[in-house]
């Protein structure tokens, strides 16, 4: 294998760099952010780029850079939280449905159909109306919405893996079903599931920003990217910098996560990783 940093891997490298920057910004926001994310200075509202406020200020005169950094926290918390929920539950459902078959399979996959048949928007609307908007609510809603994605990917993976001889080989050595499931089937089904993680992170950020745009997102004044774009939209003509910066942040981050997913998929693709004879 040649070095990771190569022309071919450029998208992967860039996306990784962006993710690192976003994560760092989120993690170090309390120390790096030049201003408090909630500090209003209405006299300085909508100032555009300046030496004091590199990325300008919003309608309350809050520093956009600082809010983007703190917003990254909310964004990543939600993306990670929702993805974690979806990953754990979805993978488990997919794994059990694919491996155990029968009733479990039927129930597992039909319940996923149910989630899918439910318009995601209405689910979000209802849960937000019920629990009130906020990070926790969003994590739950988005987590539930993405369960089927993981369940289906895992399920189809397991279906193809469970027939493989090495699964039988493991059983043949006296492995318990549990061991076979988690030591053999799961690791071998993992590659597309892992790629799905990054993809889901991207999708969650996208959806979260959409929900924030509709006023269903993170509770103000806590910063979130989606609500920042929604705010900025009102000043699109007068303050194009605000919308440009905030929507570019969303876009670039989502892009980075989905490119990372692509690269991850390629990287984990056994057909690429395992260079043996062609079948």
């Amino acid at each position: 294998m040649r070095g990771f940093v190569s022309w071919r891997n450029l998208p992967a490298v860039i996306s990784l760099a962006v993710i690192v920057v976003v994560v760092a910004a989120a993690a170090l926001a309390p120390w790096l952010a030049p201003y408090g994310p909630l500090d209003q200075d209405i006299a300085q509202r909508l100032r555009g780029f300046s030496a004091d406020h590199w990325l300008g200020t919003d309608q309350f005169g809050r520093d956009i850079l600082s809010r983007l950094m703190w917003g990254a926290r909310a964004e990543l918390t939600i993306a990670l939280g929702a993805t974690a929920i979806a990953l754990v539950i979805g993978t488990l459902i997919g794994l059990l449905s694919g491996y155990l078959r029968g009733v479990v399979e039927w129930l597992g996959m039909r319940s996923m159909d149910l989630v899918l048949a439910f318009p995601p928007l209405i689910l979000a609307l209802l849960v937000v109306a019920l629990r009130g908007p906020g990070t926790g609510t969003l994590i739950v809603v988005l987590g539930v919405l993405f369960i089927p994605n993981f369940a289906r990917v895992t399920y189809s993976q397991v279906l193809s893996v469970r027939g493989a001889d090495y699964v039988d080989a493991s059983r043949m050595l006296g492995a318990t079903s549990f061991r076979t499931l988690f030591r053999v089937v799961l690791p071998n089904s993992a590659a597309p599931v892992l790629a799905q993680i990054s993809l889901t992170m991207a999708a969650v950020i996208l959806l979260e920003s959409g929900l924030s745009f509709l006023g269903l997102g993170v509770v103000p004044p806590e910063p979130s990217w989606g609500s920042m774009v929604a705010d900025a939209q009102r000043y699109m003509v007068t303050d194009p910098g605000f919308i440009a910066i905030s929507s570019a942040t969303v876009l670039v981050t989502i892009l980075a996560f989905s490119l990372a997913a692509d690269s991850l998929r390629d990287l984990l693709d056994p057909r690429r990783a395992i260079t043996g004879r062609k079948a």
């Binding site: 001889d165 090495y166 039988d168 080989a169 043949m172 050595l173 006296g174 492995a175 061991r179």
Partner: protein
């Protein structure tokens, strides 16, 4: 063989059916009868070969015998114990004594684990062996099958096909089983590698006092390895004979056709034999023919009997059994092939190809730049 000794493994009336398609609420769910009432006894230290066409149920029989499948009918006895339906812990314990070597060395090795850990897995599951001792045993076993123990940290894809098959063998044999089913263990390998693996299996057999069921579609390979050979057709055993005898005196028309299909070069050293060709393709196991399964393709078939009555496997000489109504008659020539044996394979209609395309072809060829 000495029939009086108690066999190590015995299957009786073993049947294995699979669902062919989704469960139907109304009517019968179509089924594949992959293995149909098979009787087979394998004695300690014996190698029984199992040959037959693709899809005839060899692997299914092998897998059912090692309880990778739950049999749908019949019984399996191992060392006097009825293991037809053992489950859970007892089944897992049984895995020590009964092992399986898979056909495709690349798909039967978990691509994500190092070969050392693959070979050690059986020991690990079995438990009670300290890690250090395990590593030692793995090294010994790898060495035994001809793999440098230094390669233990490699992944399967970094190995050649022959090496991978060795890992499969090492993994199965490290548990010191008494009975091993090898399912086409050498079919995927090249000629020069194949003989090495065959030799290895043979050595290990002597050394570890193994008993094998050796599955292969290649009669010549089986002939070299097995003491007795069972010929399978569409789920059932049609002939069972000592290896040395089968190709010399095949009794079942299907066995004859199998031997006839083998290219001349491989038959070197055998007496001249009768050329018997099968007709058409194997019928579908979903809807197998009535009576004798083979009658639809058999050149000797007598519809009155063969299409209605199912022949049973019957002894015809020492250790030689056959499931054919007319085995004796065919052998002594009383029953002859319906049509003269087709010399050149399929009936090629005797029609001439119009000259058109050829002329055009030549013109086109001339016009090439």
């Amino acid at each position: 063989m000495t029939e009086d000794r108690a066999p190590l493994v015995e299957v009786r009336g073993l049947g294995q059916r699979f669902r062919a398609g989704p469960v139907r609420l109304f009517g019968r769910t179509p089924q594949v009868v992959a293995v149909d009432e098979v009787d087979l006894r394998i004695h300690e230290g014996e190698v029984v070969g199992l040959v037959g066409e693709s899809g005839c149920g060899k692997s299914t029989l092998g897998r059912t015998m090692v309880r990778l499948f739950e049999p749908t009918s019949g019984s399996i006895t191992f060392a006097g114990e009825d293991i037809t339906h053992v489950r859970g812990k007892r089944l897992r314990e049984l895995r020590r004594d009964i092992q399986f070597i898979f056909q495709d060395p690349s798909s039967s090795l978990d691509p994500r684990r190092r070969i050392g850990s693959l070979v050690a897995e059986g020991l690990e599951i079995r438990g009670g062996i300290p890690a250090a001792r395990r590593a030692e045993m793995v090294a010994e076993m790898l060495d035994r099958v001809g793999i440098d123990p230094g390669m233990a940290r490699r992944y399967p894809h970094e190995l050649s096909g022959g090496q991978r098959q060795r890992i499969g063998i090492a993994r199965a044999l490290i548990l010191r089983p008494r009975f091993v089913v090898t399912d086409e263990a050498v079919s995927a390998l090249d000629l020069s590698v194949q003989s090495k693996i065959l030799n290895l299996l043979r050595e290990l057999k002597d050394e570890l006092k193994l008993t094998y069921l050796f599955i292969s579609h290649d009669l010549a390979v089986v002939h070299h390895v097995a003491d007795r050979i069972a010929v399978m057709y569409l789920g059932g055993i049609v002939e069972l004979a000592p290896a040395a005898e089968l190709h010399r005196r095949p009794l079942h028309p299907y066995t004859m056709s199998l031997i006839s299909s083998i290219p001349e070069g491989r038959l070197a050293g055998t007496e001249p034999h009768r050329t018997v060709r099968v007709e058409g393709d194997p019928p579908s196991p979903v809807d197998p023919p009535s009576g004798c399964r083979f009658h639809t393709r058999c050149a000797f078939a007598r519809p009155e009997r063969c299409a209605t009555e199912k022949p049973v496997l019957r002894q015809l000489g020492t250790g030689h059994s056959v499931a054919c109504h007319f085995a004796e008659e065919i052998a002594d020539g009383t029953v002859t092939a319906r049509s003269a044996p087709v010399p050149a394979g399929p009936a090629v209609p005797n029609r001439t190809v119009p000259d058109g395309p050829h002329d055009k072809l030549n013109v086109a060829a001339r016009q090439l730049p």
